[in-house]
Symmetry: C2
Subunit: 288 residues, 2 copies
C-alpha cells in the first residue's frame, strides 16, 4: 500500500509517497509561493505518483475541525493568497482519496508518538520550541482537539523575578509562554543570536524555567505519560536537564510523575517526523 504525505510549511511544501510504516518511496520539495504557484505542482506530484490516502500537516492558522463548514481551510494567515484558502478542497477536487488534515505541529507530534520518543506510551505531549512555540497532544491514539487545535504556546506565564524583558507576543507581550520563551524572545532579550550564547549563559536557566512552568501546567491539566521536546531551541543540549530540575522545583512533589529523566525527553525522530506523520495519519484516514 502506498500512502501520501504533505508537510506544508511557510517556506516549502514537502510532498512524499511512502508506506504505512513511514518509509519514503519518493519525495519532492516545492517552494511555498501563492496557492496558484504552489498547488498545481503539489497536485501534479500525486497525479504522477498515485496514493491511496493523503495526510496533510499544514502551517496555520488552519481549520482542522471536521465538523466546521470551513474545515480544511487556511484561515487568518498574512501569507499572500492563502487567507481563507480551501486547501483540502483544492486537493480533493483534483485527487479523490481519503484525507487527514491537521497542523504541521500535530503531524510531527503524531509521528513522535507512534514511532519516536512517545512510542509505546498511551499518550504524549509534544512541544516544539523555535521561532514560535507549539504543541500537540496525542491521547487514546488521537490528537486532542476542541473548538480549535491546541495553542499551548500562548498559556499565560508568570514573568520570572529579574526578567524585565518586554516580551514579543503581538497578542500577549510578556504574559505568555511564546512571548517570553520562543527563540526570537531569547535572542532579543540577550541582544545576540542564541548560537552566540555560551551553554552556561544564565539566559538558558531562564529559558529552562519558563519551559518547566509550561510542563508543570501541562502535567496538572493533561497529565501526560511523557513530555517530548523538539524544535531549534532544543539543540541547546544543556536545556533538557535544566528543565527537569526546574520542573521538580515548581512541582514540589505534588504530582507523582514518572522519573523525570524518562518523563521530559528529547524527540526521537528528526526532520523526517513531519513526512512520517503524514503517512501515519493517511493510514488512519483509510481506516475510517
Amino acid at each position: 500500500m502506498i500512502l501520501g504525505s504533505i508537510e506544508a510549511g511557510g517556506t516549502k511544501f514537502v510532498c512524499a509517497t511512502g508506506t504505512p510504516d513511514g518509509k519514503v518511496a519518493k519525495q519532492v520539495r516545492i517552494p511555498t509561493g501563492t496557492p496558484a504557484e504552489t498547488m498545481p505542482a503539489v497536485i501534479k506530484f500525486f497525479q504522477d505518483n498515485p496514493v491511496e490516502a493523503i495526510g496533510i500537516g499544514t502551517f496555520g492558522p488552519a481549520d482542522i475541525d471536521p465538523s466546521s463548514p470551513t474545515y480544511g481551510y487556511i484561515t487568518s494567515t498574512p501569507k499572500p493568497g492563502w487567507r481563507d484558502y480551501d486547501f483540502l478542497g483544492a486537493m480533493k477536487a483534483a485527487i479523490d482519496v481519503p484525507y487527514a488534515f491537521t497542523t504541521d505541529v500535530n503531524e510531527a507530534g503524531y509521528a513522535e508518538w507512534l514511532a519516536g520518543a512517545g512510542k509505546g506510551h498511551r499518550n504524549m505531549l509534544y512541544w516544539t520550541v523555535g521561532t514560535g512555540i507549539g504543541a500537540g497532544y496525542v491521547h487514546d491514539g488521537k490528537l486532542l482537539q476542541g473548538f480549535s487545535n491546541p495553542e499551548m504556546g500562548h498559556i499565560m506565564m508568570p514573568q520570572l523575578p529579574g526578567d524585565t524583558y518586554k516580551g514579543r507576543c503581538p497578542y500577549h507581550a510578556n504574559h505568555c509562554l511564546e512571548g517570553l520563551a520562543a527563540g526570537p524572545a531569547v535572542e532579543e532579550r540577550a541582544g545576540k543570536k542564541g548560537t552566540e550564547l555560551a551553554p552556561d549563559d544564565p539566559a538558558w536557566d531562564m529559558e529552562a524555567d519558563y519551559l518547566a512552568i509550561a510542563c508543570v501546567d501541562a502535567a496538572m491539566m493533561l497529565s501526560p505519560d511523557i513530555i517530548v521536546f523538539g524544535g531549534g531551541i532544543m539543540h541547546q543540549e544543556q536545556l533538557l536537564p535544566k528543565i527537569r530540575t526546574k520542573f521538580a522545583e515548581h512541582n514540589q512533589g505534588y504530582v507523582s510523575t514518572p522519573p523525570l529523566a524518562d518523563y521530559i525527553v528529547r524527540i526521537g525522530l528528526n526532520d523526517e517526523a513531519g513526512v512520517m506523520g503524514g503517512f501515519f495519519l493517511a493510514n488512519e484516514a483509510l481506516k475510517r
Copy 2:
C-alpha cells in the same frame, strides 16, 4: 434497569440506587468514619438494594488508573484508616457487579456534561471552586486521564499586581491557582468570611482575574467547547460576568472561542450532580 451510585465525600457517603437517566430510586447518607465504620453500611445498602453496576466518585487522592496495580485505592490521604485503602476491592469482594471508579470532581463533571450545562457539547471543562479547586475534562465522552487524574487547581499562576498575599497551597504557596484563589485563600487574604465581603468588593475582581487566567490556560491547552463553573465560591453571582471580561482581556482575541456568555457558564445541576454522575458512569461500566 437499576444502577448504583456512590458519592464518597470527606464528611459523608451518599449511596443511591436509580435509573440510567439519573433518577434516584432510593438514597442514604452515611457519615465518613474509618473504613471499618463506613464500609459495612455502604455494602449493606447495596446488598439490600441490588443493582446491576455501581459508579463511584471518591474524595482523593485516589488511584483511578485502571492499568495500575493499586487501581481503586485511596492513596496518600491523612484521613484515619483510608490511606492505601482498597476501596474498590472491598466493594467488589462484597458485591460482584461492574464498577466505574473515579474522583468526586470527575463524577459530578460527567453528570454536568451529560445532563447539565454541558449537555449537547462534544466536550466540556468543569471547574469546582470551593475549599479547593478541582477540574474534570470530558472529551469524546470520556474523562481525560493520564498518569493521574487532572490536578488543574495546581496550574501555576502569575501573582497579580497589588496582590501581596502569601498564598495557601502547602506545596506551591502563592504560585498556583488553588493557593491564590480557593475559598480559604480569598478569606485569609480579606481577613473575613467570603459571605461578609460585599458583592462589589475588589476581592471578587481579583478572584475573577485568577479564574479567568485559568480559563485562558485551559482554552490554549484543551480548547474546550464550553467551560462550566460550580462550587461554593460561585454562589457569588457577580463572579461569572467578571471572569468573562477578564478572559477577553487576557486572551486579546488570540483564540476565537464561542461567544463568552455561552462559553463560560454556571453549572446546570446542583447537589444532585455527584449522585447522577454515578449512575451515568455505572451505565458506561455496564456497556464495557
